[in-house]
């Protein structure tokens, strides 16, 4: 199923605007992640799609039908929650059977479907237990089974992995992605974890303060963030976003930043000539350590595959830098810095991408 949001706005009682003029199209079978910090409106958006909240303005379409006034029960949605939201008074079997019972399916069919889904998720040995007797990972599987068993046309997932241990989380993450591809069900997934978003999504929609910042593939978001918010939010360790002034001297253009001066490459110079104050963005892997003076190594963490360093600029700013593991540096050592300009970006002082 295709989902389309058209100028969707949600204002809560008391005037809090949780989502503003959201336009988003989710293609059939697509796995889309709504990503943003807490309070950015992503869960509100999800609950509007579920039909729990009604949009204050705008329209939500399932395929070509406006569903604004459709009750949650009539939307054929499977939903998974961070808290799992299993029914504590029902056994695992009853939990999974619940949506089917509400559909008034015959008993034998319910039984067959429950067992089928249970074996698919490897929880067939837990059917007689109650949720409180299960581990977090097992509860998560039951919640998934309950969402899958009704064969929904849309999956909604609200941070379903956040309560799991780090190790299980990575396992379930891979499994979830595989499952979604196998079932081919359109999925809208909410998280604040950018690594999770990058690993799961076909496309990511980044939200901040109720406003959509950028929609794109993980690759687009990582390599060409459209504004400083997306640039800073995606990627770990976080990108360096540096205050810079553009200065022109003898036809040549320079970035004056970090207490030093960096010549701007030609393609940058063409578009930056009329700018004064900008943000220069460089991901940690796009900062190059050279022989030179002015910058000092502030700290180094050896991470096995690579090393992560903080480098202190002449003006005191700390730059985040990732380096090949074999790169030998010592704390306190004086170095020079340059950038991989093919990958860096420059933003207006208001935050929009220039180049």
């Amino acid at each position: 199923m295709r989902v389309r949001l058209e100028n969707v706005t949600k204002v809560f009682r008391g005037g809090v605007e949780a989502v503003r003029d959201l336009n988003l199209e989710v293609k059939n079978g697509e796995f889309i992640v709504l990503l943003g910090p807490s309070g950015c409106g992503k869960t509100t958006t999800l609950l509007m799609i579920a039909g729990v909240y009604k949009p204050t303005r705008g329209y939500i379409y399932f395929d070509d039908q406006v569903v604004n006034d459709l009750e949650p029960k009539d939307r054929n949605i499977g939903m998974v929650f961070q808290s799992y939201a299993l029914y504590p008074h029902m056994s695992v079997y009853e939990n999974i059977a619940f949506p089917l019972k509400l559909k008034k399916l015959p008993k034998e069919e319910i039984d067959r479907k429950v067992k089928e889904v249970a074996s698919m998720l490897r929880i067939d040995n837990l059917l007689n237990r109650h949720p409180r007797q299960l581990s977090g990972g097992q509860q998560q599987r039951v919640a998934l089974a309950r969402a899958i068993v009704k064969e929904p046309s849309l999956f909604l997932m609200d941070e379903p992995l956040s309560n799991l241990d780090a190790k299980i989380r990575v396992e379930v993450r891979a499994e979830l992605k595989r499952l979604q591809k196998d079932l081919g069900i359109t999925t809208i997934y909410v998280t604040h974890d950018q690594a999770e978003a990058l690993s799961l999504a076909d496309r990511i929609a980044v939200l901040n303060e109720g406003v959509l910042q950028q929609v794109g593939t993980p690759d687009e978001l990582y390599n060409k963030p459209l504004n400083t918010f997306v640039a800073g939010f995606i990627g770990a360790p976080a990108a360096n976003i540096i205050d810079a002034s553009i200065v022109e001297e003898k036809e040549a253009l320079y970035f004056e930043m970090l207490g030093a001066r960096f010549p701007a490459p030609k393609d940058y110079a063409e578009v930056l000539r009329n700018e004064a104050k900008v943000y220069f963005m460089a991901r940690p892997e796009d900062v190059r350590i050279t022989e030179g003076k002015g910058f000092t190594i502030y700290s180094i963490e050896w991470l096995g595959r690579e090393a992560f360093a903080h480098v202190k600029a002449p003006d005191g700013t700390l730059l985040r830098v990732t380096l090949p593991a074999e790169f030998k540096l010592t704390v306190g050592q004086e170095v020079g810095v340059t950038f991989n300009y093919a990958k860096t970006h420059v933003y207006k002082s208001t935050g929009e991408l220039i180049i």
Partner: protein
């Protein structure tokens, strides 16, 4: 210095014994008067505990008190009539308080509407008002509505007084259920009512049970409203009947008979305690399990 295992066993044993000793002493406080009551109920002498007889329970056969003194007997209703009235009051109170508060508690917990917090505050204040303060107002209302001297009038007044606590307690139980659980039910295909009856209500069942028990016992033990609003003795409840025997001006006071009636009056309470204890413990310790 470490203790040998036998020393540890002795210490644990001493502690257990001490614990039981304290428990017995605490239990004696209510048990002694209750024991005296039971002894008196089976006593041959009307005032002192002496011997053992079932004579005081003669009324159980026909429900008639003082069958040997027709003039005196006429002053009192049949015991079974009073018992039935008591049961009706208790069940009526239980039924309506439980029914209304299990739904009102849900609405107040889940929906935000104008005047919600004012309503909650009022509930607390109303619950704090002693029922005897309301007697004049209630008397007037019952008189105007023609419900004075009827059991229905007392039931309604009782419900009004017991309801705030029920709503308040059950609202707390509903508050304890995460929103996600309810949203899950809605998305799974339940309507508002389906989500309420299939998911929310079963999850607050311990609370509903405790409110049912509380309001049953509250109705069963009611005295002030009966005393004030009921004149006709056929509309009396057990509490009123027993009280009236204390203040009788004619003949000698028969304490043994009063004790026997009291034991009869106590039976449902004891039964409920024995069967309900298991659930009540669940309520106080377990609550809603997540």
């Amino acid at each position: 210095m470490s203790l040998s295992s036998s020393e540890v066993v002795i210490m644990v044993k001493t502690r257990t014994i001490l614990l039981y000793l304290v428990a017995v002493i605490v239990a004696l406080v209510p048990l002694i008067p209750l024991g005296l009551l039971f002894a008196l109920a089976f006593s041959e002498h009307p005032i002192h505990i002496k011997g053992f007889t079932l004579a005081n329970f003669e009324f159980l056969k026909t429900g008639v008190l003082f069958p040997n003194d027709p003039r005196y007997s006429k002053l009192y209703p049949n015991v079974y009539t009073s018992a039935m009235n008591t049961l009706l009051l208790a069940l009526g109170n239980m039924l309506f308080v439980t029914l209304i508060s299990s739904m009102a508690g849900y609405v107040i917990s889940r929906y935000s509407f104008r005047g919600r917090s004012a309503l909650l505050g009022t509930f607390l204040v109303i619950h704090g008002v002693p029922a005897s303060v309301l007697l004049i107002a209630l008397y007037y209302i019952l008189k105007v509505t023609g419900l004075l001297n009827t059991l229905l009038g007392v039931v309604l007044a009782k419900i009004a007084v017991d309801l705030p606590l029920g709503v308040w307690v059950l609202k707390g139980f509903y508050d304890g259920i995460p929103w996600d659980t309810e949203i899950a039910a809605l998305v799974d295909g339940a309507g508002r009512f389906g989500a309420f009856f299939r998911v929310m209500l079963p999850l607050v069942l311990p609370g509903v049970f405790s409110i049912a028990l509380f309001s049953f016992l509250s109705g069963w033990g009611e005295f002030v409203f009966i005393y004030t609003f009921i004149q006709t003795s056929t509309n009396w409840t057990m509490s009123m009947l027993i009280q009236s025997l204390h203040t009788s001006e004619m003949g000698a006071l028969n304490l043994a008979l009063i004790a026997a009636l009291s034991v009869f009056y106590l039976i449902p309470v004891l039964v409920l305690f024995v069967f309900g204890e298991k659930y009540l413990v669940k309520v106080t310790i377990g609550g809603v399990k997540g």
